[in-house]
C-alpha cells in the first residue's frame, strides 16, 4: 500500500499534493478551461478527449459553477462556485483504483484508519449525451470522489474506455483538514504572514453571485444568448472542412464546443432564475445535448481523436 503522507495544512496544499501526485503518475497537468462550466467533465480535455482511440492522460483543477447552489456564502458546504479536481486516463489502466487510493494517501488519508468504500453510482450527463458506470467513493460515510468508466460521450461509444476521477475539492479538503464551515478553511498556509481563509477569498463573491444568479441576471438577454450560442455552434460546424485561407482540412470542433459550453452555462443561469418550467427543462437539455453530439461527431473526424487523414472516424480497436 502507498506510503501515507502527512496531513496537509491548507486548501491549496491539498490541490498541490494532488497535482504533484497525478503528475508523478504520468498525467499531463493541464490548467482550468477558461470558460464557465458546471463541472470538470465539461473541459474539452475530458469531453472531447474521451472520444476516439488516441491514448490520453490529463489532470487539472476546474472551477465549476452551479448557480442554483448559491447560498450567499452562509451554508457550510454549498457554493455556487467551487473547484473540482479532474483526472482522465484513456484507456483506463487496470490499477486505476489503486492509483486513486494512492492519491488519497498523498493527501494524508490513511486507508487503514479510515473506512473507504466504493458505492455504486452510475454517472450520466444528459446535457453531454454521456454516461458511465462506477462509484461514489466514501470515506467514513462522506462522499469524497466520483469514479467513472465512460461508456458513451456525445452519443458515441467510448473505445477505448476512459477512466475518470472527480474530486469535490472543498468537501475533500474540509474533511482532511477537519473544518466544519467551508469559509473557515485555511486557503494558504495558516502560518503565512498573510494567512487567508476560503472565506477571505470567496465569501463576498459568493454573496454577490448569489444575488445576481437568483434575482438580477437578465433573463431576456440570457434567452437571447442561448439562442445565439446554439446558432453559432451550428454555423461553425456547417462550415466546409477545407479552410479556404490555408487550403488545409480544419474541422472546428473546439470552437463549436465552446458555444455548447456557453449554452449549457446560460441554461444553468436561467434555471437558477426560475424561468424554466419542468417541461421546458427537458427541451433545453435536449438542445444542449444535440450541440454536444454535433461537436462530438465533428471531433471524432479529427486527428486529435486519432482519425486518419481525410477525416474517417477512428475505428474502434480490434477486439
Amino acid at each position: 500500500m502507498a506510503e501515507v503522507a502527512s496531513k496537509p495544512a491548507s486548501f491549496q496544499e491539498v490541490i498541490l499534493r494532488l497535482q504533484d501526485y497525478w503528475g508523478r503518475q504520468g498525467c499531463a497537468i493541464l490548467q482550468p478551461y477558461d470558460m464557465e462550466v458546471g463541472a470538470g467533465t465539461f473541459h474539452p480535455a475530458t469531453t472531447l478527449r474521451a472520444l476516439g482511440r488516441k491514448p490520453w492522460a490529463a489532470a487539472y483543477v476546474q472551477p465549476s459553477r452551479r448557480p442554483t447552489d448559491g447560498r450567499y456564502g452562509e451554508n457550510p458546504n454549498r457554493l455556487q462556485h467551487y473547484y473540482q479536481y479532474q483526472v482522465i486516463i484513456k484507456p483506463s489502466p487496470p490499477d486505476l483504483q489503486e492509483l486513486y487510493l494512492g492519491s488519497l494517501a498523498a493527501i494524508g488519508i490513511d486507508a487503514r484508519l479510515h473506512d473507504i468504500r466504493f458505492v455504486e453510482d452510475d454517472w450520466e450527463s444528459p446535457t453531454l449525451g454521456a454516461w458511465g458506470l462506477g462509484w461514489e467513493v466514501w470515506c467514513d460515510g462522506m462522499e469524497v470522489s466520483q469514479f467513472t468508466y465512460f461508456q458513451q460521450v456525445g452519443g458515441h461509444d467510448c473505445h477505448p474506455v476512459s477512466g475518470e476521477l472527480t474530486y469535490g475539492l472543498e468537501r475533500l479538503a474540509m474533511y482532511v483538514l477537519g473544518i466544519d464551515h467551508v469559509m473557515a478553511m485555511p486557503f494558504n498556509d495558516p502560518e503565512a504572514p498573510i494567512a487567508l481563509t476560503y472565506g477571505d477569498v470567496f465569501r463576498q463573491a459568493e454573496e454577490e453571485y448569489s444575488r445576481y444568479n437568483f434575482d438580477v441576471a437578465d433573463t431576456e438577454m440570457l434567452l437571447r444568448h442561448f439562442e445565439d450560442a446554439e446558432a453559432e455552434c451550428r454555423r461553425i460546424l456547417a462550415e466546409p472542412e477545407i479552410d479556404p485561407r490555408t487550403g488545409k482540412r480544419i474541422v472546428m470542433a473546439h470552437p463549436a464546443y465552446d458555444q455548447c459550453i456557453k449554452a449549457s452555462h446560460i441554461f444553468n443561469l436561467l434555471d437558477a432564475r426560475g424561468v424554466i418550467s419542468v417541461t421546458e427543462r427537458q427541451a433545453y437539455i435536449g438542445r444542449v445535448r444535440a450541440l454536444a453530439k454535433a461537436c462530438a461527431d465533428a471531433f471524432v473526424t479529427t486527428e486529435a481523436a486519432g482519425a486518419a487523414a481525410g477525416g474517417a472516424p477512428s475505428a474502434p480497436e480490434a477486439a
Binding site: 479510515h114 473507504i116 468504500r117 455504486e120 470515506c139 467514513d140 462522506m142 461508456q151 477512466g163
Partner: protein, 687 residues
Amino acid sequence: MPDLLIELFSEEIPARMQARAAGDLERLMVSGLREAGLVCRGARAFATPRRLALAVEGLPKESPARREERKGPRVDAPEQALEGFLRSTGLTRDQLEAREDKKGNKVWFAVIERPGRPAAEIVAEVLGEVIRSFPWPKSMRWGSGSLRWVRPLHAILAILHDEAGAQVVPFEIEGIRAGDSTRGHRFMAPEPFSVTSFDDYVAKLKRAKVILDPVERADIILQEAESAAFAQGLELVHDKGLLAEVAGLVEWPVVLMGAIGEEFLGLPPEVLQTSMREHQKFFSVRNPKTGRIERFVTVANIEAADGGATILAGNAKVLAARLSDARFFWENDLRRVREEGMVGMAEGLKAVTFHARLGSQWDRVQRIRRLAREIAPVVGAKPDLADEAAEICKADLVSEMVYEFPELQGIMGRYYAKSAGHDDGVPEACEEHYKPLGASDDVPSAPVSIAVALADKIDTLTGFWAIGEKPTGSKDPFALRRAALGVIRIVLENGLRLRLQELFAHGYPGADAGDLLAFFHDRLKVHLREQGIRHDIIDACLAMPGNDDLTLVVKRAQALADMLATEDGENLLQGFRRANNILTQAEERDGVEYSFGADPKFAEHPAEKALFSALDEAEEKIAPAMEREDFEAAMQAMAALRGPIDAFFEAVQVNTDNEIVRRNRLNLLSRIRTLCLSVADLRRIEG
C-alpha cells in the same frame, strides 16, 4: 468425483446486484455443465463486493462417451448427397454402414462415437460462455478491451479438486488466465494466496478478513448491532432492505454505534431514519422508553487500528451536517406553516406542474376536493372535513423537507397539519391518502382518509384516461395500475358500497368511463386471482348488473366460487349447460326464443312435473335472496335444482315428436336458464 471452485474477482459489484448475480452464476454454470454431460451433486454460489464464487460438488471426471447414429441418404442417391452427409458427420465413406431401413431401401448409416471429454475442458468452455453472456442488469467495458462485466474483471480462480489435489482449469478470457489464487480484504490482507479446495478457500478468506457468505455477513451485522443497542438499553430499528444492502457493501463487517447530537433529537423519527438510511446507510437505534431515535449504527469494512474511533467520528460529523440540513428544513417549514397555514403553503402548488395536460398540483387539489366531498357521505366522513383534508393533503410537496426527501411526502404533511392546528383525522388523511403504496401496505380505514385517498386516485385515473395516457403493455409511467388496485383494495377491505361509474362522473371530465371500468375489472381479476378466485368466476359475476360496485361483485363471486366447489354446484353447472345447449340449438334451428312460460299441464312425466315444482320453489327463494344480496342463499337454492334437473334429463327426451310437448319442455329449460342467469352468468364458467 472432483469438486469445482470458481471465483470471479472484480472491482466493486453494486450491492443490489450481488444476490441475483450469484444465483445466475450457479444456474447458468450448472445447466451449462449438465448440457455438456456433467451432472453435479450440488452447487452453491456466494457474492461479496469484490467477488462472485461458485462451489460445485461431485462432478464426473469426464463426460460420458456417446454413441450417435445418423441416417443418411439412400445408397443409390446422387454423389452430392453422400458427400454432404460425409461433410456433416466428419466421417469417410468406409466408416459408413449400409443398412436396410423400414421400407426396405438400402441406406447409409453413420455411427458416430463421441468419446467422453475431460471435465476441465468442459468447465472452461461453459465458463467462457457464461462470462460472455452473463445477464447483468447493466454492464460495461473498460480499458481497451471488449469484454463486458459489471465492473472491470481482474482475476479468475478456477480449480477442480479432490482428495488427490487441485488442478487449475485451463481457461483464459480477455487476457485473464485462470489460476488457483485470490486476494483477501482490499486493505487488511491484499496479498495473493492460493487455495486447494472450497473449504480451504473459505477458511483462508476468513483469515484474510473476508467473509464469503452474505448471509453470514448479514447475521454478524444484525447480531452485533442488536447487542450494541441492547448494551445501552436501546433497540435496533429493523430494516431488512438496508441489512441486505449493507451486507453487500462490506467483506468484513465491523459494527460501530454512535450518538446523534442532542440538538437533532427533536426531529421526527421518520426524518432521522430516512436521512440516515438514504444518505449514509445507517441503522437507527431507538430508545424504547421514549420512542425516540437516539443513536445510529454504521457498518465499516475495516478493523481500524484505533478501534474505529476515527471512522465513527467522521461518520458522526457527516451525519451532523446532514441533520443540520434536515433541521433547517424542518424549522423553516414549521415557521412557514405557522405564518401561512397549510392552506397558504398549498398555494405554492400552483407552481408545481402535475402533468402538462392536467395542470398544476393546485388544480388537481381543487378537483380532489370536489371528489372528496362527493365521496365523504358514502364512506361515513363529514364532507367539510374531507374537503379540509383534501385542500391541504398535497401542501407538503412544496415543503423543503419533502423537496429533500421525496419519500417523506405525506408523513411531513401529517406533522405540519398537526402543527397548524388541524385535527379530526385531517392530519392523518394527509399521510394516508397516498396509501396503499404497495401490495403489502395497509389501506386507510379512517373515513376522512378513505375519502381523500379515493378522490386522489380517481382523479389520477380519470385524468390520464381523459388525455389518453393509459398504461400499455409493461409501460405504466404514471403508476395507474397501482392507483386502480389501491381503489379496489380500499373498497374491498373496508366493505364500501359505492358505484365507480358515479365517481368517474365526478372525476376529470372526458374520460371514457366504460373503458376505465374495464381496466378496473382487469385489475380486480388479477387481485382476486391472487386470492384464489378464478377469472371465469369473476367474469360470470362481472356480466351481471351493478358490476361497478366492487364489493357486490366480490360477494357474488365468493358465493359462486363456494357453490361451484360443492358437488351439487358442480353438477348443477353440468345440468345448466345441458339445458342451455339444448335450448340454444333449438332456438337457432327454430329461429325463435323460447321464453314463453312453460305450462305444467303439458308435463307428461313425474320427473318433469317435479322440475316444475322445484323451479317454483327455487324462484320463490332466489328472488328475495337476490333482493337482499344474500348470494349464498340464492346459490344454495339454485344448487338445490341439481337433483330435479338431473332426474328430468334422465327420464325425459326434450326433442320429442309431439311439438306441443317439445315446445313446452324447451320453455321449461328456458326457465332454468333465466333463473340461473339471474344469479350469475354461468355461461362464462369454463371447464
